[in-house]
Amino acid sequence: MVENDRWGTLLAHIILILGVAIVIFPVYVALIASTHEGGTFFRGVMPLLPGGHGWENYSTVIFDGRASAGAPPIGLMLWNSFVMAMMIAVGKIAISLLSAFAIVYFRFPFRIFFFWIIFVTLMLPVEVRIVPTFQVVANLGMLNTYAGLSIPLIASATATFLFRQFFMTIPEEMLEAARVDGAGPMKFFKDILLPLSVTNIAAMFVIMFIYGWNQYLWPLLITTDDSYYTIVMGIQRMVTGGDSEPLWHLVMATVVMAALPPILVILFMQRLFVKGLTETEK
């Protein structure tokens, strides 16, 4: 720093600590609420210290669910979310690697045309074309399937662009050396490109896993069978299902379970996450 400004630094610390407290506050409240029994919330304002019913609440939501409100146990919903997030992340990375490889390492007729078709998807989030996409998926008989949950969200231009950009930075000599040694395209892809892209793939994976896990509108539309509910959309059913006031302690236990996996992914892979985030947006 330019000057030594003790009070300024102290003030900055105070602002940051307050800021962090505000940012954490909603999740703190959820954690606290999930450790109280249901009756607490009828007696007025929520307490700010943990109660003693944590295990009870969590085991209720994970194994039993709320049969009365049509909410299945969240163990199954967590599994569905996991499957969906994994399929989206792995699928996106796989098809993007292949198509980026084709676009960078081959010259063929209609290359630019294909590039533009892929580019178009960048512009259209699911939210703006929900009704017709829903009709297509319904016609293909993919409602209430894992394929229906994930495949329509797999095509994404962002991953393709990232890999294309990365492939462009790989030295020409790599390809020349591989050609001299007699490697074919797929051998080059498998033995040279893939090992070089490991960090990028991992960074992409973190972003795409979170993207897949947090999908909301899409699973809401195409799942009517509760054995395919994902956790993020299942919460909405818990909050609005039934006429009475939601059972806050169970809702909050579910919220914590739903938010935990992606938060853990970010905390444990922070470097990869930051890399993925800043590079996909270039």
Binding site: L98, R107, F114, I117, R129, P132, P152, Q236, L267, Q270
Partner: protein, 294 residues
């Protein structure tokens, strides 16, 4: 668009490699989008048996519809407030964290994780905090004489969804602002300090202008986020109410299409939204070109 100087040659392999992505794109993106265009010019009878081609009547009707215009205004207010709140808080945090040396990583860790929380969950969290009967904030607000009720008061409802949507976006903006701040050459700041510029003056005359590419980029990203990704925030909390006060455009497409079953109008709204997305994307790419020549 370039390739490598030296390429592989194969007649069929590049097509096979592209096939998975192109097929999925055609089936789930290009085809539905063209369907939306087509349906936006049709009117279906209430039973969905017959449809008549009516050119641009659906669009004309939308722009005469006071609900639609109100929803546009709501979207505008919502996106601008969310963007301003999320960006200004993030910029404050980023400048503060940037002063730190040892504690920088710790603060960053504490500030990035809300990115992982789904918009719908962010909505439910804040909805709980603001809940008129059990929430904490209404209790505090009551103490200062304000009767909070987002179920009846449309301003309260708007504040609720803006706070929930902005809260989640702070971490994203924070990371980009921090990266932007760290790429500003230290020599410029030292030079102005020697000339006697105070910290505040340095911020507004040197740092802020140099950050403007980041700021502009984030502005576009945040507006896109607020307009399209916040569906979950609205749907899980206010459901567009009270009295349409938080009925943003994306939510209205969903409501008219799936609940109201008015496919023609919903498709027309989709087409308008696509137009908005395309304009924003073009703006964003323009910016990228500019930054390359910076």
């Amino acid at each position: 668009m370039q390739t490598k100087r030296m390429t592989f040659s194969s007649r069929w392999l590049p097509y096979a490699l592209l096939a998975p992505q192109v097929i999925i794109t055609l089936i789930f993106f290009v085809w539905p989008a063209s369907q939306a265009l087509w349906q936006s010019m049709l009117r279906q009878d209430p039973f969905g048996l017959r449809s008549t081609f009516i050119w641009f009547r659906n669009f004309e009707r939308l722009f005469e519809d006071t609900h639609y215009l109100a929803s546009m205004k709501t979207t505008l207010i919502f996106s601008v407030c969310t963007t301003l709140l999320a960006m200004s808080v993030a910029l404050l945090f980023a400048t503060m964290v940037n002063r730190m040396i040892r504690s920088r990583d710790t603060y960053t860790t504490f500030l990035v994780w809300p990115y992982a929380v789904a918009p719908a969950i962010a909505g439910v969290l804040w909805w709980f905090i603001f809940n008129p009967s059990v929430g904490i904030l209404p209790y505090i607000l009551e103490g200062v004489g304000y009767d909070w009720n987002h179920r009846l008061n449309s301003n309260d409802a708007m504040i609720l969804v803006v706070v929930a949507a902005a809260w989640k976006q702070i971490s994203y903006n924070f990371l980009f602002f921090l990266a932007g701040l760290q790429s500003i050459p230290q020599s410029l700041i030292e030079a102005s300090a020697i000339d006697g510029a105070s910290r505040t003056k340095r911020f507004w005359t040197i740092i802020f202008p140099l950050l403007s590419p980041t700021t502009f980029f984030l502005m576009v990203v945040n507006i896109v986020y607020a307009m399209f990704d916040t569906f979950g925030v609205i749907h899980a909390t206010t459901e567009g109410g009270p009295a349409q006060a938080t009925n943003i455009l994306v939510y209205k497409v969903f409501r008219d299409g799936f609940v109201g079953n008015n496919l023609g109008s919903s498709a027309a709204q989709s087409v308008i939204l696509m137009g908005i997305v395309i304009v924003l994307t073009v703006v964003q790419f323009r910016w990228i070109e500019r930054r390359v020549n910076y």
